[in-house]
Symmetry: D2
Subunit: 365 residues, 4 copies
């Protein structure tokens, strides 16, 4: 039961299904006095809008966000901010004929079992990647908070379909629709996408996310470590099958003398830790890599069964992306921002007490 | 603030420092009527006891667990079970001379910053790996719960210091002190450990964890996905730098048609998903791999600074392990069990309502 | 930070301001397979609709609820149910001239301090009683859950403006607009309201709430006792200044031999406890009384100050109720239902484990 | 399931049974740098120690608290503070003969039902008032936090067995064992206790609690209102049957013009609200009254049944108090402090962000 809320002081609750009436989020814990507009949030949503290029679904989601509460005269008031995105241009007819089929790689089977057969089969319902639109909207509010402390989160594609970015040129990531930091690799990725499209198949990849300007001290021992909370947030994205931080899986073959980041009077001399020590941010960049599986909906024929356990062949044609990659990039950014905003506030409580921060007094005592 | 509690219905809170008086856990949410003894818990603790073999610290931790509450006449009563492990054989003298030094790869620096200079520098205090003894104790109670549903969790070492297990022979993992499922690889690992010990260095590795018998339906959309909660639990272990599930990072180079697990009337035909679909268990085995960094405490001289920002050379001699690997294996098992027990209970609430499970009536109506 | 979510397994998050765009709730944790319609929820909302009679604000709130998610083909799916109520017929002009004034008895001052001067002054913003419309909508879903277990919650007015109901005739409570179980008292209450209206003043009262059919065993030791959670839920309603259970404040002058409820083989012989023992439901009716303060918005001139600490006289005319009573009755019902639904599910998890409730198996093992 | 943890940033988890091995608490969220000793905590525990006077149980509980973690060199470190109180002088023999009897007014029946028959019948087990010793210990840490902000919480007995304190002379409350602010009333109360003791009966009463120096701005809309959280904390104490704030139940017969507290440039002109407006502290004293039921364990013969539904007569002799009053006073103080400390930290996070409180920088940027 439950499970659609994340965060402790900065708390995000989302709702909505792929082909339902609307998706949305309630953000509770945004401090007062921040400017916030629908345009600001929309900008983040537009990052995940499909239909801009090859490899993406032609569904013309407008994903127009509406702020329903929590803002007055352009400023946040400290009360919950509700964000609403109506589903438009929804055509569920394609799902009618496969409504009792368990699509391979999808949550159809597990939702069927978990909820005793009651499930919205249209586009995967709540389990659809489309659910993340609400996360991106909520993440924009986290972004607004982090801005005030100079914290920047940037995600980009470092591998897609087996093609690897050799460069990390962050300046070009918004100049290509795959958020790739290497324009050469980008071209190869596009080719690979086109080829895979023709084959009726799909592609996985790896996204790297970088958080810069994170102050030292965020994260709590022992279970709410910053990396633990980031891991939860990132693995809560449907297509994610792996995550590593700093040197990541390479640590398995490293020695302590190689892996430890030496410290000098001017700071750390390298960053194999990826930004945390003992689960608490060290002031270094947070560096995380995320493995993204290929989109399970493919045109190629697959074998599966239906709710009656009958064998079925399925080809999921239509309006589907070839890779989750371009859309998942802003989602990963959003989740990292949500966790950072939450831990920023948690550590501010700690710091404020350490400094015995004074409460405002209106009346003379 | 906070952060030392994990779980929603099965809730574990831990406390204690490496060189403090005691470590322990309060387990809230264990159902009534289960047999539970100190011996049962002790067995799990003994799995992580050092001093059994080469590569491990000679500190003679007895780690004798005491049950303080929640058990009556040998049965759990449904009330919180407090577990206590006194620290014995503690010698903090080695830490006096480095009390203001930030050991590389340790949390000394981040705790110093986070807590305004107040920190228990003896053996890393709360940030020590020793903290996990309380998790293992609590995990034994989770194990007791899972047993009732035939759920088994087993972790084992598949790589250490660059040596990889080729076999997955689970029958031998308790026959070697590294929990390695390949006796050939085990021998090489031991040699590597001896060599590294002589060099005054340490080693990382990879642990795989397998959960068998997990019913379909555990995990909640969208943030409390089973894999998301497992990721948090696993990344909350200090030495963890990476985690992957099923095919893991390999998905990045796979096609949808390869990655999707086909479904037949007799079940899934393979398990690249690693046991969840849409974040909910599918009834397949849960398969996770965890990257463990080399222990940062090494005899080799390292450069670092102290609290006054002065350059310091440090050689951490004494009673240290060469790899976190053998000890971390039962910790990973414990964390996976804690998450599974929590989600088992969450899904039982859901199922019980679906079945309109009757409440016991004592008086006739 | 935070604070707009209540419940553990049945979780309600609300948002919205009195004069904002919309109010709403996200209900996370409703089990699947329940029929649920907008009409069903609307019926509860209509109970708190003003303009039906004397003593209530003429504002023509339509409070039309819209379900945005979580329902498919008429059934709940187990995913979050978002409920939306747009604010219509909103005229904020009256608030412009008092926008910097702290209305006595209202939260204007405390919100001003808490949020550093950023506040939606129109109709009290988030602190308005209007916020409870979202609770009533969410409470309707809790009602739907409780129905399945034969649990009924009924609230009614037992005192208003110093006039006390002598009878507890529950059959008449929906036959008068004050939900009074005594038609004689009702008439006197109406007269009192008319008189007070002419004086430009307002009235307090007492509401009693009765929960029948609650099974024994709901509530958790020691902090999440059923009465403790009910107390939180009830005191979270703005106008509430007191709550008592069973014999309530009378226990202060009772002896143990009087106060204890004797138990016979056929059940308890009386119910001074009010339905719980040790914080856990006993199977007896839950009986709670709630003290409701007079509405602070009155036409009578009051002394207060503005944000600049200048003395101000204020007369809050316009569209205001004379007593919170009729509207607060469904709100109290809603809050009690939300707590009961949450604890029903929590105890179901416990019971299901005690019974080793089987998980559904789709594939043969 | 669960329920033994309270608080969000300042989190208290308790464990232990009346006749078990030990009771204790884990306090997570105490900021670093506070001096804290066992003596400081012991002082609070001694307030609830029986055996000091008539009307209290002769059981010689020493209730010696031990700090197990979270303190280093006399200062809090920001990590969890575990507190342990071993049960000594425990004689459970009296409970053997009533082990299957449901004592009237106790939780025996509800625990029996809830936990499927598994219950520690010795002294009520977890449902015993003795459990509150852990709360008082934890409350001492909250007290230590509040001291830093000049917040003082004081509880005292204003009625016992139908005798009412006419005065509120706080200077005498520690000069009499009932914490009564009226020495005349105290004498009458003592006489009443003696008389009731001879009758083999017990007495209820009312405790008032006063929190002074609470800054304006504590409490969160809408569910985590300060009064709502206080209500939960107070109703979580076993013997509590009612709570009112400020004018309390009197508001039911008041008019708005009487009940509203006028505001002047120098502050509020009276305090019928009892310290909060809209659920947020106003800077006025918080004033709460708590109805405490007579202790259910009495020597007088009572009718009840046992687990087999057989009629039984019971006389609970032995070492029992006549009233919960003197012991419950420090418990109420503890619970109010725990809630205030939690909300102090929550509002500090808010304030710190509003002020853009700087994070410490160790390295130059």
């Amino acid at each position: 039961m439950g499970g659609n809320t994340i965060g402790k002081l900065f708390q995000v609750t989302t709702f909505g299904e792929s082909h339902g009436k609307a998706l949305g989020a309630v953000v509770d814990g945004c401090p007062p006095g921040l400017t916030l507009t629908e345009e600001y949030i929309q900008k983040e949503l537009d990052k995940r809008r499909p239909g801009k290029s090859s490899g993406q679904s032609p569904r013309r989601e407008k994903d127009k966000v509406e702020i329903l509460s929590g803002i007055f005269q352009g400023y946040t008031t400290g009360t919950p901010i509700a964000l609403l995105i109506y589903n438009v241009d929804v055509d569920s007819s394609a799902y009618e004929k496969i409504k009792d089929v368990f699509r391979p790689g999808h949550a159809d089977f597990t939702y069927f079992i978990k909820y005793g057969g009651y499930r919205d089969y249209r586009g995967g319902g709540r389990s659809s990647g489309r659910e993340t639109v609400a996360r991106v909207a909520a993440g924009a509010i986290a972004k607004r908070i982090l801005e005030e402390y100079g914290i920047e989160v940037t995600a980009y594609t470092i591998s897609l379909g087996g093609i690897f970015a050799k460069e990390r040129n962050l300046e070009v990531i918004y100049k290509n629709h795959l958020f790739c930091p290497d324009m050469e690799a980008y071209k190869d990725m596009c080719e690979k996408i086109e080829k895979t499209k023709r084959e009726g198949d799909s592609l996985g990849g790896v996204v790297e996310v970088l958080a810069r300007g994170v102050p030292a001290g965020l994260g709590e021992p022992v279970f709410d470590k910053l990396n633990a909370e980031l891991a939860k947030a990132i693995f809560s994205i449907g297509a994610v099958k792996g995550m590593e931080m700093g040197a990541g899986f390479k640590v398995a073959s490293m020695k302590g003398s190689e892996n430890n980041d030496p410290i000098s009077p001017y700071g750390f001399l390298k960053n194999d830790a990826g930004g945390t020590l003992g689960g608490i941010s060290s002031g270094q960049d947070i560096v995380i890599r995320v493995a993204v599986k290929p989109i399970p909906s493919i045109r190629k024929t697959q074998k599966t069964i239906n709710e009656k356990k009958e064998e079925v062949e399925i080809s999921v044609g239509g309006r589907h992306d070839i890779s989750a990659i371009p859309r998942i990039v802003p989602v990963i950014e959003a989740m990292v921002r949500i966790v950072l905003a939450d831990h920023l506030l948690r550590q501010l409580a700690n710091l404020a007490f350490q400094k015995r921060l004074k409460f405002p007094e209106f009346f003379e005592r």
